[in-house]
Symmetry: C2
Subunit: 332 residues, 2 copies
């Protein structure tokens, strides 16, 4: 098996995206900016109330895999869909982007996961996710040869929501480390951190995870502090490489020996923040697995995030490789 | 039943949109800029070769209905879907836009229609449509009360492709005219005109259709002439109101007593031409059924077309009413 830059593991979700006013979020008890977990009944109710929508493949780690491939990196993905219409769309989109995806689909129920995403006029997205088939991802879905062949195995903190995915991640970490590879995760969402704080800290402090991505709110939530510097210092101690994104304030990447701070990439118009963190991770990990310096990795992350928030949906509609060349960050 | 500004009748289609290079069209024998009819096998083949895609409701007359509702007009739609996943998406999207849609869905096969749309770097779209459930639309789907209650009943020339829709249109025309209402059609596509030229001319000359929308290529194809003025003069003779769109060269609307020529509405970046003609018709008919002068109708059409070609997909992601107010064409 040839080498992959990054293997991504996550909830395989189709996004259903519509615009909404802030009042709508309030009336429907949707926490703004967060990933709200919902059951099948609430999914039906919210869809009835939702405006005209656009469907696109999504899911945090899946978006990162698609972004990596768009940069020209080699990527693989593990995630559970059902063999239904949405599952077909998901499989098509990620494979068509050039990502290796062979996780066995469910043949019966539950159906493929979907997230209803409401984008408010400020560009912020509020997600409402029915996990569906994702609850069946387990250690049996870890393809050992792909883990062994991947420079970095990256997963989303959201995988702690379904019941057995964490076992899959622990198995992947053993294989990765036994093969001299690295493990990486994103903390996903401040509420997700709140649900699994102790387990996430244990993953970092035990060395199960080497590289951690977080945004400012997630980092603060992890250490239950209102002070950004306190969170940064703690993260640097708790993992080998920590990357913290701060929206328009830029991002910072820190390992034991260096700190790289970069500003956010300039944008014209903020359209939809869906996928910003996922694509930042894609750009950073593309750079990281292809020998770029830490600061360059952060710049590639910022560029990818800037591209994705100027379009609807989290999968890049333009070539990120070309965007990187145009920005002078990648040699053409 | 309260009055509708416009009832739209057309093929109910879900669009699957992806970017592609011109070479891809050539290699796959896709006629650029046209609506290519395909069967189920070719649909599967092209989907396998298609890049990562976005799904959105589409279909020419359905897009016009959605545009009318987005302007704040009252709209209804007749079109055939199957009671499957894509059919559910189609029904949701058009109703969520505020369009009355009650056509009985098929319960078995064929499945809901889909069109794979390849958007080349120049923004041009090339459609590949599998008609699926649309082939079952017939006179039994004409809800007489809605036709009688609609100021204008608008349909797409594409309805001559499925076998029985033309019977439905003739039935609708009888009801509309018996109730003092008007009939309108779009010629849809120059190749469609080529397939049904004599029938389309008969619809116009017999007075079955009162208002006809065409783009420059369709008008020339209808009269088999290379000369635009020749086509214009003939169209003015053959119908009560003719509207011809010319992309960046603007549009012209002509009835027996007047001619209104307007320039195209300025745009920043051409993204995807999908839905340009459909949304022009939406803007024009919104104005026409709400007492605007011919020139103002054409300006509303140009505005709606400009909005839709600066986004991916043919359903407006912003309020066209607000866009009309911002442009000074509609009083807020």
């Amino acid at each position: 098996m040839s080498e992959f830059d990054v293997l991504c593991i996550g909830n395989a979700i189709v996004d259903i995206i519509a615009r909404a006013e802030d009042d709508f979020l309030h009336e429907n008890n949707i926490i703004k900016g967060a990933m709200n977990l919902i059951d099948a009944d609430r999914a039906e109710l919210l869809y009835d109330r939702m405006g005209p929508a656009v469907e696109t493949s999504g899911g945090s780690a899946g978006n990162t895999a698609a972004g990596l491939a768009s940069f020209g990196g080699t990527a693989a993905f593990f995630g559970k869909v059902c063999d239904d219409h949405l599952g077909g769309i998901y499989r098509h989109d990620i494979r068509a982007q050039g990502v290796a995806f062979d996780t066995r689909p469910l043949t019966d129920t539950p159906p493929t996961a979907r997230s209803m995403i409401f984008v408010t006029p400020d560009g912020e997205r509020s997600m409402n996710t029915y996990l569906g088939a994702c609850v069946e991802l387990g250690p049996e879905d870890i393809e050992e040869d792909k883990v062994a062949a991947s420079k970095v195995t990256f997963f989303e903190g959201y995988l702690w929501d379904p019941p057995r995915a964490k076992e899959a991640i622990r198995k992947a970490a053993e294989i990765a480390h036994a093969n001299g590879r690295q493990m990486s995760m994103t903390l996903s969402d401040p509420f997700c951190v709140d649900r699994y704080r102790d387990e996430f800290l244990e993953l970092m402090r035990s060395g199960t995870v080497d590289i951690v991505f977080a945004n400012e709110d997630e980092a603060k939530s992890l250490y239950q502090t209102a002070d950004f510097e306190t969170a940064l210092t703690a993260m640097r101690t708790d993992c080998k490489l920590a990357i913290v994104t701060r929206s328009e304030k830029g991002s910072v990447a820190m390992d034991a020996s260096q700190t790289a701070s970069v500003s956010a990439h300039a944008i014209d118009t903020l359209v939809d923040t869906t996928g910003a963190g996922d694509l930042y991770a894609a750009g950073f990990l593309y750079g990281y697995t292809n020998g770029f310096a830490l600061e360059e990795c952060a710049r590639l992350g910022s560029l990818a995030a800037a591209v994705i928030i100027q379009q609807i949906g989290p999968r890049p509609q333009v070539s990120l490789r070309q965007a990187g060349i145009d920005a002078g960050l990648i040699r053409g």
